[in-house]
C-alpha cells in the first residue's frame, strides 16, 4: 500500500524535527540523568553502623519457594551500590529476588573526615562480620552466601580468610583485584608505580579523603576517549529510543555519583596491595592475625570480564590456586569491568550464571 502525499510530508516533517532537535534532546538527557530515580526495588534498612547501612530487599516469591541461604551483596566502597539495582526491569537485585533468593545489600555509605583513618582491613574485619551477624539474625538462617564486586570482592576475601570457621557457605567474586604482581595490562599499576608515585606524601596531603571526582576522572582516564566522548556519542545515537536513553542515564548517573575514599584506605591499597602484593605473598596481617587465602575452603565462583581494563584478568585468575577450596569455578565472560554487571547482555549471561551456581549450593528451597 502506497502512502499518500500527506503522510509522506508528515513523516518527513517528523524526521526533520527529530533531527533538528537531536542536539537539544541529547543535552537535556544528560542533564536529566542526575535526577533519574534509581535503586527502586523495595527494601528496608535492618542495621546501621557509622555510615554503613544494611538493607534487606522485599522478597518477591513465597517463603516455601525461597532458597534457604540468604545472599549478601558487598559492593566497592568507591561507588554507590545502585549499579546492582539500576531500574525496574534492569536490576540484578530484582532478578535474584525473582530467582527465590533472600537478598541483602551492604552499602558502605559516604565517609566523612572523621573516617580518615579507616583502613581497607576495617571493612573486612570490623564491618563485614557485624553485617553478617545481622543478616543471620534478621533472616533466621545459619549460613549465608556473599557476592563481592571489585574492591568489595577483596573485602569479602579478607572476611572469608579471617572468619574461615564462620557462617560463610558460598563466595562469589566478581573481577577481584587479588594478585597485583600481574602489572603488564594494568594502567593503574603503571600510574601509581612506586618509582614515581609517593603514596605516603600524597595521602598526607589529602586532608583525610580522596575526593570522588579524582576517583571518577582517574577511572575515566583509563579509556579516555571512550569515556569522555564515546559515551555521549552513544547517547546521541540512541536518543530516539526512550528505554535505551533511560538505561544510559542510569549508568551516567552512577558514573558521576561516586563517593570519596578515606585517605588511609587509598594509601593501604596502593602500598600493601598494589605494591607489596601482601595478600598473595601471605605477609598481610590484620590485627595481629595473618591473612591466608589458603584458609578459605568454601565453594567459590570467580567471575572475570574478558575486556576488563580496571582489573586485568591476570590479577583475578590466580584465585583458584591461592584458596584452599576444592570447589572453585572460574568464568570469563565477554564484557568489560562494569558492563559485566550492568551491560545489556548481563541479564542473559552473568545473572543466570550466578543464580544457577548459587541455587545448586544454597540448600533446598523452603
Amino acid at each position: 500500500m502506497t502512502d499518500t502525499v500527506g503522510e509522506r510530508v508528515f513523516r518527513r516533517a517528523g524526521k526533520t524535527w527529530r533531527a533538528t532537535t537531536r542536539p537539544f534532546r541529547t543535552w537535556r538527557a544528560v542533564g536529566d540523568s542526575f535526577d533519574l530515580p534509581v535503586g527502586l526495588t523495595p527494601r528496608e534498612q535492618v542495621w546501621a553502623l557509622n555510615k554503613t547501612r544494611l538493607y534487606r530487599y522485599a522478597p518477591r516469591v513465597p517463603p516455601d519457594e525461597r532458597h534457604r541461604v540468604p545472599l549478601l551483596l558487598v559492593f566497592a566502597a568507591i561507588n554507590r551500590p545502585f549499579l546492582l539495582d539500576m531500574r525496574p526491569g534492569n536490576s540484578f537485585v530484582e532478578f535474584m529476588l525473582d530467582e527465590g533468593f533472600d537478598v541483602y545489600l551492604l552499602d558502605w555509605g559516604e565517609p566523612g573526615p572523621e573516617d580518615a583513618e579507616m583502613r581497607l582491613d576495617d571493612y573486612g574485619a570490623e564491618y563485614l562480620p557485624r553485617a553478617v551477624r545481622r543478616v543471620l539474625a534478621d533472616s533466621g538462617a545459619e549460613e549465608l552466601s556473599i557476592l563481592g564486586y571489585c574492591l568489595g570482592s577483596l573485602v569479602a576475601l579478607l572476611y572469608a580468610a579471617l572468619e574461615n570457621d564462620g557462617p560463610l557457605r558460598n563466595l562469589i567474586l566478581l573481577t577481584p583485584p587479588v594478585d597485583t604482581s600481574h602489572k603488564e595490562d594494568s594502567l593503574l599499576s603503571s600510574w601509581l608505580d612506586e618509582r614515581w608515585f609517593d603514596v605516603e606524601r600524597f595521602a598526607a596531603n589529602l586532608d583525610g579523603l580522596l575526593s570522588s571526582s579524582v576517583i571518577e576522572n582517574g577511572g575515566k582516564m583509563l579509556k579516555a576517549v571512550a569515556n569522555y566522548v564515546g559515551a555521549y556519542v552513544s547517547l546521541w545515537d540512541r536518543i530516539d529510543d526512550p528505554e535505551a536513553v533511560r538505561n544510559w542515564q542510569a549508568m551516567h548517573r552512577w558514573v558521576h555519583d561516586g563517593v570519596p575514599l578515606p585517605a588511609e584506605v587509598f594509601r593501604q591499597w596502593v602500598a600493601d596491595y598494589l605494591w607489596s602484593n601482601a595478600l598473595v605473598s601471605g605477609r598481610h596481617v590484620v590485627r595481629g592475625e595473618p591473612v591466608r587465602l589458603s584458609d578459605i575452603e568454601v565453594p567459590i565462583l570467580n567471575v572475570l570480564a574478558k575486556f576488563d581494563h580496571i582489573v586485568p584478568n591476570g590479577q583475578s585468575l590466580p584465585v583458584a590456586d591461592l584458596v584452599g577450596s576444592d570447589d572453585v569455578q572460574t568464568e570469563i565472560l565477554t564484557a568489560g569491568h562494569v558492563g559485566i554487571m550492568a551491560g545489556h547482555k548481563a541479564r542473559h549471561v552473568l545473572w543466570p550464571t550466578l543464580a544457577a551456581w548459587l541455587a545448586e549450593r544454597s540448600g533446598d528451597s523452603g
Binding site: 553502623l49 576517549v225 564515546g230
Partner: protein
Amino acid sequence: MSNESGDQVDPLAMARGIADRAYESASTFVDDVVGTEAFSATFAKGFQAAAATTSALRRRVNSVGEFASEWLNIPTRRQMIDLARRLNHLELAVDDVDAKTAEVLRLLAEEADDD
C-alpha cells in the same frame, strides 16, 4: 554514528565515516599515550603536585576557620571531627555489647530448651 536514512541515499554518510574513523584513531592514540611510562610518571607527579597545592590552600582556609570559630566561641571543625570519631567508637562498642547480649540470650534459650 547511526545512519537513519534507511534505504535512501545518505548525503552525510561520508562525513559520518570520517567522524567514525577519527574517533577510532583518537581512541587508539590516546590509549597508547596513557600507557607509556613517560605519561605515567608525568601524571603521577602532576597528581601529587595538585594534592600538595590544594593541601596548602586547605590548611590556610582551615586555620582561618579555626580562628573564627574560637573567636565566635563555637566548636571548631577539628573538634567536630574528634566528636564524630568518638561517636563512631561508641557505636562500635554498643554493637559489640549487642552482639554479646544476643549470644547470651541464645545460650540461655538453648539451655532452657535442654531443660
